[in-house]
């Protein structure tokens, strides 16, 4: 059984870090007892782990604490952010945008003629009638208004910003 090196290391690291389930631990112990390759790899990884645990943190200069205390003597602890950010303002901004979106949707839906088209009972003619209504709908009127254009521009910019944030996050996670 030739297990890929990466998979072997992943399982062994989980074992060393204590993240394996009891069943997995037993399986790995059996593998180590039976397979010299697993034993060697385990010793190798355990060496790195122990080395990391045995190292000490770097220390700043002896005067560090004194320097910090001298520096903070000039300051006071700032009040907690939540005490000076008024949640009502945040709620009002949210409500404003929701109203804006709702208004836009209502305006668009208001352009439709909702009266039922004349039908002879067949489904296809009803669909055709709806299709005609959609074709007759003046889309240009919806998108030609100044306010609508500004609104769409804001939405597009916000969308691009969100896309940028998402892609950056993906790139960061992949690196």
């Amino acid at each position: 059984m030739n297990i890929p090196q990466e998979q072997m290391e992943t399982r062994l690291w989980d074992y060393i870090d204590g993240l394996s389930s009891p069943a997995e631990r037993s399986a790995i112990e059996e593998l180590m007892a039976a397979n010299i390759e697993w034993q060697q790899k385990y010793r190798e990884l355990l060496g790195v782990h122990q080395l990391m645990n045995s190292t000490e943190l770097e220390a700043p200069s002896m005067r560090f604490t004194k320097n910090v205390m001298e520096e903070i003597a000039r300051y006071h602890v700032a009040p907690a952010t939540k005490t000076y950010i008024n949640k009502n303002i945040i709620r009002a901004i949210g409500a404003f945008f929701l109203t804006l979106i709702a208004g836009f949707l209502i305006y668009c839906l208001g352009q439709f003629k909702w009266s039922s088209p004349t039908s002879n009972g067949s489904g296809s003619s009803t669909l055709n009638a709806y299709s005609d209504t959609l074709n007759k709908f003046n889309w240009g009127k919806v998108f030609s208004g100044t306010y609508t254009s500004v609104f769409l521009l804001v939405i597009v910019v916000m969308g691009l910003m969100l896309l940028d944030m998402y892609l950056r996050r993906k790139k960061y996670q992949a690196s």
Binding site: W13, G47, P60, F64, T65
Partner: protein, 195 residues
Amino acid sequence: MHTGLTDTEIIRRILQGEQAFFAQLVERYQNYVFTLVLRFTDSREDAEEISQDVFVKAYRSLADFRGESKFSTWLYTVVRTSCITFLRKKKLNTSSIDDERTFLQLENQESGFTANTIEQKSRHAMVNEAIRLLSPDDSQVITLFYKGEQSLEEIGVIMGLDPNTVKVKLHRARHRLKEKMEKHFSYEVRELQND
């Protein structure tokens, strides 16, 4: 002045106006902060300046620490933002701190270790040198896990990643660390294996 108080108790006293108690937090976390900062910048002078700035910022915004996470976890977020701000200001090497090329350059600069120099290095120094050759992301994960005593979940919260992603990152970081040690400190690694 060590009173054996917990972080939360110390913070409560500071928020009540007893500023001197902050010295205890500094003493407790200065090495942790300094080491983490050194993972971002190679200069000890810069690291000391940034670390000092971290504690000043932490002091000023201490009221924002709600105790929902460990103090060290919260402190790390201050470390990260301070380092990024500092590096942006200085425009170190005119490249992003996430740019792997920067660290390849660093690796090339530091690859000229002589056998004698290596022999003189302690284990501790060797590991720190090897960690410095890693990218900031790798060295941060390793430092937080081993020295910050942060769980995978806590590191995930700090870095905005899923714990499983952190686990994979940690495995890869350790793998790369092992490679660096074998490449640059082969003599010491052999000595360690013979121990």
